[in-house]
């Protein structure tokens, strides 16, 4: 079953008089449970593609269907609702809310989804254990290492049981050991829960974990390898 389907997607950025074609007629589908890497050099369009799949941005033309729903005509709030229940994000810069503890960061999407305190507590503890940070729940981000912060971000991304996790350069700011640890955790969660992972990366350490590698160059898919 497809969790995301893009058809002939183009994204043009206009800065002043200059137009930049970040994606040019891209079509692809992502199936349930995939562990996919979007790879390519800087400026190839992989982050833009990830943002469109994540409903953070709208294409200039083409169709983006997420979980069976066409997203290109959705309002800002409708896109927020779709993200809230369907998609989890992990960013390159350990994107945690600095004033919240690790526990509260993981809890935030559950709050936005209207879960009860008991449901939230159970889910947050489960996830902190899954990323091996059960004893760091009360720590603020500035009291955690980069690897720990990224693991909290992974736990947060998983908190609402999304169909898909999108990760933009998740290991870019981590040393080898921490990068490996984060990837191992994500791979394990992919296997155990069946959640789909899509990465934008050019880190070979990430690519080696992928079950599918989609290569982009100058806004078009030049190679799509599975296996």
């Amino acid at each position: 079953m497809e969790v995301a389907k893009l058809t002939n997607v183009t994204r043009v950025y206009k800065i002043g008089e200059v137009e930049t074609r970040a994606l040019n007629g891209v079509s692809m589908a992502i199936s349930d449970g995939e562990f996919t890497s979007l790879v390519g050099p800087s400026g190839s369009g992989k982050t833009t593609l990830l943002q469109l799949i994540g409903c953070l941005d709208k294409p200039t033309s083409g169709s983006v269907i997420i979980g069976g729903q066409e997203t290109t005509n959705l309002s800002r709030n409708q896109r927020a609702d779709l993200r809230k229940g369907t998609i989890g994000f992990v960013f390159q810069f350990f994107a945690l809310i600095p004033t919240l503890t690790a526990y509260e960061n993981v809890e935030m999407p559950l709050l936005l989804n209207g879960k009860t305190p008991a449901q939230r507590k159970q889910r947050v503890m489960e996830l902190l254990e899954a990323v091996d940070l059960a004893d760091r729940g009360h720590h603020r981000p500035d009291q955690l290492s980069g690897g720990q912060q990224q693991r909290v971000a992974v736990a947060r991304a998983l908190s609402t049981n999304p169909k898909m996790i999108l990760a933009d350069e998740p290991t870019a700011n981590l040393d080898t050991a921490n990068g490996e640890q984060v990837m191992e955790i994500m791979k394990k969660l992919n296997k155990e829960t069946g959640v789909t992972f899509v990465f934008a990366t050019h880190d070979p350490r990430v690519i080696k974990y992928a079950s599918r590698v989609v290569t982009l160059e100058d806004g078009v898919i030049v190679k799509d390898t599975k296996g």
């Binding site: 953070l56 709030n77 993200r83 919240l100 936005l112």
Partner: protein, 406 residues
């Protein structure tokens, strides 16, 4: 539901000094406005009470041709046999005191110094003369049958270097257009705390004043004080008589009523200016916060926070700032108003005329209504002002915000 206030509290705690300074600006603005409101209200209250108590009363019964500016004692402008009418008026329930007064113009002279005064013939024992009787600072008050005694105000006594027991010459314009002069003994010196009034008025017993000004058995006015000044129109309607007019305090103090209305408008403008400035500080603080937290807003948006929830988050921060700042300011403003309500602020003789008497010391007076209305207004202005940065945050496109672009 998200605990916006918990998040807001922590966000404010990130930049404690900045948050404290913003709250301080609000506190200072609120305290200042509260004190100004208390000062204006105290001033207007004092002015109204003093003017009514000393000069006009709540009602005055006059001959229909009497002109209070001329102080004429010609019989055709006076009320004949005023004692009986005053007694009848005083018997009415809403009336605290009703007493005849003869008002004449005169000159006090001592050695080679002189001063123009209003000579007031009064019934000494009347409740309406309590401010003078209770305000005696030297000597004693006059009695009804005193034929040589006079009461003068403290500023006049000081300017003419007079003490109780000293003699003065008093010149009066009489009813037949002549002048008469007689020597009086200063029985007592009074102060009402209103130098502008005290320096220009002297008191004689009514009978003596009538004889002196040749206005036998006549009075210029019947001075009436009510238990509740709001009943003035009702009582005025009840005591109308042939050949006389009854003036209410609002008719006699049009300028003062106008000034009171104007002072409310003036206060509203000051409120607007000060609150505008403090609101700008809050907007600035929140705008800085929005700019600094652009990426964070992007993250919240990416995990599904809607625009109205982002607005709620920033409004919660503004509300907390407002709660702390306005709360502290209101306490400080109340404390200042309470202190100066007891000790007063000394201004001395402001030289304002009889139409608007002011005590030398103004006591601040803060009503609950005005305090609550100021607090509510300040809170609303702050929260409304914060809508701009809050909406700005809510309208950020997540993809741009995540890259730190506003």
């Amino acid at each position: 539901m998200i605990n916006y206030f918990k998040l807001a509290y922590r966000n404010l705690g990130r930049h404690r000094r900045r948050s404290l300074l913003s709250a301080l600006a609000l506190a200072l603005g609120t305290a200042l406005l509260m004190f100004i409101a208390a000062f204006f209200q105290g001033e207007m209250r004092s002015s109204m009470e003093t003017t009514l108590k000393l000069n006009t009363g709540h009602l005055q019964v006059r001959d229909e041709d009497y002109d209070p500016d001329k102080l004429s004692v010609a019989w055709e402008y006076l009320i004949e046999n005023p004692d009986q009418a005053a007694a009848q008026i005083e018997s009415l329930d809403p009336v605290l005191a009703a007493t005849p007064r003869l008002l004449a113009s005169g000159i006090v002279s001592v050695r080679d110094e002189s001063a123009g005064v209003q000579i007031m013939g009064i019934v000494p024992e009347s409740e309406a003369n309590a401010p003078y009787r209770d305000g005696i600072v030297s000597g004693e008050f006059i009695t009804a049958d005193d034929r040589e005694g006079i009461i003068i105000g403290l500023p006049l006594a000081e300017s003419l270097d007079l003490r109780a027991g000293d003699s003065i010459n008093l010149l009066v314009n009489t009813s037949d257009g002549d002048v008469d002069e007689q020597q009086f003994t200063v029985r007592g010196i009074f102060t009402t705390g209103t130098s502008a009034w005290d320096k220009g008025v002297v008191f004689l017993p009514l009978a003596k004043a009538q004889a002196f000004a040749r206005a036998e058995n006549h009075a210029s006015i019947i001075f009436v004080l009510l238990n509740d000044r709001e009943q003035a129109d009702e009582v005025a309607a009840a005591i109308q008589g042939e050949g006389v007019v009854v003036k209410t305090w609002t008719q006699m103090n049009e300028l003062l009523v106008l000034v009171e209305d104007f002072s409310n408008a003036y206060l509203a403008v000051i409120n607007l200016i000060v609150l505008g400035v403090t609101a700008t500080v809050i907007v600035n603080t929140l705008l800085m916060s929005v700019f600094e937290r652009t990426r964070e807003i992007g993250i919240l948006s990416a995990i599904g926070m809607k625009g109205r929830q982002v607005i709620a988050l920033f409004l919660a921060e503004a509300s907390l700032l407002a709660f702390g700042g306005i709360g502290a300011g209101a306490l400080a403003g109340w404390a200042l108003s309470a202190y100066f309500g007891k000790v007063g602020v000394y201004f001395g003789d402001l030289g304002i005329g009889e139409q608007m008497l002011l005590e030398d010391r103004i006591y601040t007076y803060l009503t609950l209504d005005s305090a609550v209305s100021l607090i509510v207004t300040a809170f609303l202005v702050t929260v409304l002002a914060s809508l701009y940065p809050a909406r700005m945050a809510s309208r950020m496109e997540p993809v741009e915000a995540l890259h730190g672009k506003q």
